[in-house]
Amino acid sequence: MSRSETGLLSIQDLSLSIHGLPILKNVSMDVAPGRILGVIGESGSGKSITAFSVLQLLPGGASCTGSITLSGKDILSLSEAELCGLRGRDVGMVFQEPMTALNPLKTIGDQVAETILIHERVSKAEAMVRAADALRRAELPQERFPLSRYPHELSGGQRQRVVIAMAIALRPKLLIADEPTTALDVTTQAQILDLLKRLVAEGGMGLVLISHDLAVVADLADDLVIMRQGEVVESGPAKALFGNLQHPYSRALLEASAHVPERRQEVLDLPLLQVREVVRDYTGHTHGWWGKTTQFRAVDGVSFEIRKGESLGLVGESGCGKSTLTRAILGLEEVQGGEILFDGLPVFTHHHANQIVRRRMQVVFQDPYGSFNPRWKVDRLITEPFHLLANPPKGAERDRAIAEALESVGLSAADAQKYIHEFSGGQRQRIAIARALIIKPDLIILDEAVSALDVSVRAQVLDLLADLAGRFGLTYLFISHDLSVVRSITDRVLVMKSGKIVEEGPTNTVFDRPSHPYTQQLVAAAPVLPAGIA
């Protein structure tokens, strides 16, 4: 039996180049109706461009060879007008970022109905009825989410449901979801994945699920394709494939996903950072200059301690107050109540950040692309914290400090003269760590520091962090929404929700036997790799 005859989508030997630069090389994959194909790969592996080539939504200068067949039709030979008829009707698409995939000026009903009106000659009223049906299938019932809602009135997960409703409004044969849950919190992610799974099961639709996250795909997919640098390295039914990975890259990917860095560090029984009953209120000007102000309590009576040499995790979903807490600890924003002591000294004195304390803490941020001034060279970037010192090193001493910091994160001293755009995401995060290390701090706050990295790079950076902690006696406060990362690198963990710490304890205890209902919910929602394969 030839698979391309029974299958819904069949890509055979697809090669693609953009302005002569080869992007995809002999990519083949098949999707059958009612089945889920997981496409896994790191950034630059060509997984998204493969999906876009199905809809022929390619950048200028792209040329394809090979064949793409969608229910018997050869996509590559269709005209643009025929492709327009196909997009949205036969193939639906769900994008990564629900915040930008919706038009903020149109109601959700209008946006879903638009897809229907483009493809079918129906009245506006009828389109709205069908839009309501599509939204109901995406679990946004009319009673609670009327069609007249605007995107800004919905949460991230609800917006992603609207995007899904748009994609499934015409009951397409194929749905392509490109990192549909990457921008969402872990509990929301679990709900969206359930929804996708159910839609496939009841509609007989084929689903291509593209993700960098092995665990997300492993939970859901029937078939798997693993891609690397524009080529398929391995493919097959998910269960069989996970049990018996052949290609070294697939195995490396799997190992990196479940990587636990080796840590050798003594935890002293001395508190380094003490946070006591901290309260942070925000005042919002919502009614002009003279109207009433609104109060929002972002951090509500939080207390905890970090001991010297310890690695503490802080877990919570977006909006729980963890970033606010970070800024308070760093002395960037004053708190309204409670106190923060670093090695016994207050972080804030007389409404100003205490410089003596500040030079002993540094931070590494999430975004390896946004955390550097693009117009500065690396030497100037990483020496910025020298501003905190009364007598910053100069001349040869400065060069030595730069070289030492760069070499300790695995880069070379010669990199100091480069601009930041010459580095990859992982290298940039190393530079961010070098910037934090250069003034030899005691505490480094890692604010989602590895969340934006590919799994193999993430594993390397986690190893680096573990190694640096041992060498320089560092204490880490590790803030993340990703439970598996927190689990691999921390001794103790705090779980934060709505500005409060709801659970605290040794990492393994909290994750294996969560006691607070919210923690239980978080742990249950986190996607896990099938047992026994790593």
Binding site: A353, R358, V363, F365, Q366, N373, R375, L388
Partner: protein, 276 residues
């Protein structure tokens, strides 16, 4: 130099701008005819080999007048843009650094106030107090430029203040003045350059307009706007009197706008990537 060929508009814009700048510079040391000498025998001559653009009602050479007029226009517009940037950019940076604060409100509301006055009205007010001159035209146009640069700088700076590298600089203990100078200003500079060329061309138009109504440079200083005003009663007798100063204004403004467009394309890395 490959910068020049990134954009289709940059090269013609630069050529036109250079042409008029060169005319203004050459007029400082040499002009074909003295523009302050009246030669009644040769008045209102159409273009010829001796006078390529013809002569005006006093027999002055129009080419020479345009060269000297270019000097006036460029000087007025350049200094006015300079005033606008020198005052507007620091105000915009300060407002962005104190977003939502009292300083921000005061600066931006003062800007709104200045914006509410048409530049012509400001010029009339200044003229009423100090008398008409090129200097007062500069001040009037300059004041009008301040809120343009202040708003642009504030808007661009606000989005930069949310970047993580600004947070990193704050963690390094840097104050908002230092961050504005070291991080914000270099990253808004390309926007300011582009806006500068556009304000420059608007300045030339404004100077021509002010001179046209007699509020700009005073005789005998040559000015494009006044040449147009003077030619207006004789337009049916000698159309070249209006044609050449009109063309000079048109081409200079066009050149500067093309240059601004081209610079924006070349300086914006996002557009640059989209094109290649």
């Amino acid at each position: 130099m490959s910068l020049l060929f990134h954009s289709r508009t940059l090269l013609p814009g630069a050529v036109l701008t250079l042409l008029f700048t060169a005319a203004a510079l050459i007029s400082l040391v040499w002009v074909p005819y003295d523009t302050t000498v009246v030669d009644i025998a040769n008045r209102m001559k159409p273009p010829s080999w001796l006078h390529p653009f013809g002569t005006d009602q006093f027999g002055r050479d129009i080419l020479s007048m345009i060269m000297v007029g270019a000097r006036t226009s460029i000087a007025v517009a350049l200094v006015a843009v300079g005033i606008g940037m020198a005052v507007g950019v620091p105000l915009g940076l300060a407002a962005a650094a104190r977003k939502g604060g009292l300083m921000d409100e005061i600066i931006m509301r003062a800007n709104d106030l200045v914006f509410a006055f048409p530049s012509l009205l400001i010029a009339v007010m200044i003229t009423a107090v100090f008398g008409a001159s090129a200097l007062n035209a500069i001040i009037a146009i300059g004041i009008f430029n301040i809120p343009v640069f202040a708003r642009l700088t504030r808007g661009a700076a606000l989005s930069l203040w949310n970047r993580e590298y600004i947070l990193a600089a704050r963690v390094a203990g840097k104050g908002s003045a230092r961050i504005s100078l070291e991080h914000i200003l270099p990253n808004v500079a390309n926007l300011l350059i582009v806006q500068g060329t556009i304000q420059f061309s608007l300045g030339i138009l404004a100077e021509a307009g002010l001179s046209y109504v007699g509020l700009g440079a005073q005789p005998p200083t040559a000015s494009w706007g006044r040449m147009l005003a003077d030619s207006q009663t004789m337009i049916s007798l000698a159309p070249h009197l209006a044609l050449f100063p009109g063309l000079a204004i048109l081409l200079t403004v066009l050149g500067l706008n093309l240059l601004g467009d081209g610079l924006r394309d070349s300086l914006d890395p996002k557009l640059r990537r989209a094109r290649t």
